[in-house]
């Protein structure tokens, strides 16, 4: 029985794209893997917020029904953790096929309001009724952690109940696919719904522990450490603003098990650039603008230059670019356009001299030196080359880090599929 949290807390955007969507993704993974693990396994869907606890889909092995039930969930109200568990227990009791164990997979994304004593009582009831409980905690983990841990400890029987805390900024399904919730207690048959055989041995970084036990253990330890670190980082940064978010994403990117070297670097680059764009949005925006302006200006410059008697063929791209930039800036200067355009076209070398440019521009009527566009253009012309160089250096450094931390086997084809998922 999969119990989803559809309280207002799930509107929170700390998981991509929202908690609710991330939860959908994760629950589909769980349902898929559970129904595939055994032909007799059935999965039901319920929600514990909204108007009240509601069973949307009684236990079934029909994935279509499960998916459509999940898709129709609306966010609203407060979640009632205790009532959710009890109704899940009832739903399990009246299942058709009495063979096989009973399990509740509970998503928690809002503060648990029930008292610890009440939870312990319910936990004992569930334990007596042979029901295992898995808890997937998404956000609000500080408040819930002690309660949920006590609950899981009480309900646990022969290690059949688990709790997984998803660090903010990661994809829940990425974390779950390696967790015992999806792989099952015996660690086999996992990931049926997710990546086919991709998740086999995923706990060990895709390496069959029977073939190379030491490597497998090392990979597993390193992945656990990475996840713990990401969790800690997420906790530390949760108070900070947007800057911390980008860091979390970087942490997530670093934590994600990498696939092939090329794809991992490509991915990290795109992630990096995404996170950078948040912190340096203004800069990258102006750069984009420049890019467009450059294209137009190049053509204009070509025309103007030929008019001014300059042989374009003699100039290399950079010189052309600078000239074009200068002309475009001069155009922005309003009525000064014509005259500076003519004088500027001859002085491409002087353009590099910032002081000269500044004095020139400030002397022009209608040109405001404080205009951000002009500033960006000034800064951009000189810095662009350097900035790009920096980016590349960063990425290389990161890749080296990765490669030293993870051995080459890590990038097996199995990983590749999980990375593809992550990119979606």
């Amino acid at each position: 029985m999969v119990c989803l949290d559809n309280s207002e807390w799930m509107r929170n955007g700390d998981y991509m794209p929202t908690r609710m969507e991330a939860q959908h993704d994760a629950s589909n993974l769980v349902c898929g893997s559970k129904t595939q693990q055994n032909p007799e396994s059935t999965v039901g869907i319920m929600t514990c917020a909204g108007a009240g606890v509601e069973v949307l889909c009684s236990p079934t092995d029909d994935m279509g029904r499960i998916l459509s039930a999940t898709a129709n969930i609306r966010v609203g109200g407060k979640a009632n953790f205790a009532a959710g568990l009890q109704i899940a227990q009832l739903a399990l009791k009246h299942r058709k096929n009495k063979n096989g164990g009973q399990r509740i997979v509970m998503f928690v994304g809002s503060p648990v309001e029930a008292e610890e004593r009440k939870l312990t009582k319910i936990a004992k009831q569930l334990k007596k009724a042979n029901i295992a409980v898995d808890i997937i905690s998404m956000g609000e983990s500080d408040m819930n952690e002690s309660k949920l841990n006590t609950f899981i400890e009480t309900v646990n029987k022969n290690n059949n109940s688990h709790m997984v805390t998803i660090p903010a900024g990661t994809l829940p399904s990425d974390v779950l696919i390696t967790s015992p919730i999806v792989t099952g207690d015996d660690g086999s048959g996992g990931g049926g719904g997710g990546g086919g055989g991709a998740a086999a041995f995923s706990e060990y970084g895709g390496v069959d522990p029977n073939l190379d036990p030491e490597l497998a253990i090392a990979l597993r330890v390193s992945m656990e450490e990475a996840r713990a670190e990401a969790e800690r980082k997420a906790a530390n940064d949760s108070n900070a603003g947007g800057e911390s978010k980008s860091e979390e994403q970087e942490a997530a990117a670093a934590e994600e098990p990498s696939s092939s070297r090329s794809s991992s670097s490509r991915r990290s680059r795109s992630r990096r650039s995404r996170s950078r764009s948040r912190s340096r949005r203004s800069r990258s925006r102006s750069r984009n603008k420049e890019q467009d302006a450059e294209d137009q200006a190049l053509e204009a410059a070509a025309a103007a230059a030929s008019a001014a008697g300059i042989d374009i063929d003699d100039m290399d791209d950079d010189a052309l670019l600078q000239q074009a930039l200068m002309m475009s800036m001069a155009d922005e200067g309003g009525d000064a356009g014509g005259s500076t355009g003519a004088s500027g076209s001859g002085g491409s070398t002087k353009f590099i001299d910032k002081d000269f440019m500044q004095s020139l521009l400030s002397g022009l009527p209608g040109v405001d030196m404080n205009d951000p566009q002009i500033r960006a253009a000034m800064a951009g012309a000189g810095d662009e080359q350097d900035a790009e160089g920096d980016d590349d250096d960063d990425n290389d450094g990161e890749d080296d880090d990765r490669s030293s931390r993870r051995s080459s086997k890590k990038r097996s084809s199995k990983r590749r599929s999980s990375s593809r998922k992550g990119d979606k």
């Binding site: 227990q89 009791k93 009246h94 009495k98 004992k124 009831q125 334990k127 007596k128 009724a129 042979n130 029987k157 022969n158």
Partner: protein, 165 residues
Amino acid sequence: MSSQQVDLSSYVSKADSYALNVDSAFPMENLYNSDERSELRSDADDQLIVHFAFTEKVKLTGLNVVAPRNERRPEHIKLFTNQVSVGFEDIESLPAAFEMDVEGDDVTEGKMIPLRMVKFNNIDSVTLFVESSEGGDIAALSSVKFFGQAIQGTNMSELKKTPGA
């Protein structure tokens, strides 16, 4: 049709029988072997539900429970008939077909606890509920046997060919 009381163990369908609140180190299988020391034990507290399903409809006349004679001995037991899915949350509110306080001698090998036949006529499952144990947090059972008779359907081996037909 025989009227004598027989041990109905062979009519118990093990696949359809189950126990709740069981310590997995002391599973239900321990009830079926003859060793008195192998026990079915409760886990979270001292309550136990053991559900026996029969392969055929039966009439019960007697019950034999063997349990350790220490603090794990069941103190109060109840029997319910024909309950399909019963759990701890609803078993207290169901009418019991039989209940008794267990004394020390009641849980020895060979001691027959008589059951009222009218209540155990034509049943296909029996649920044994151990409400509490003598003391401590664990209840245990070594063996549970039911006596009575199977309600025979048409016995094909008794059919005889009518001569000359």
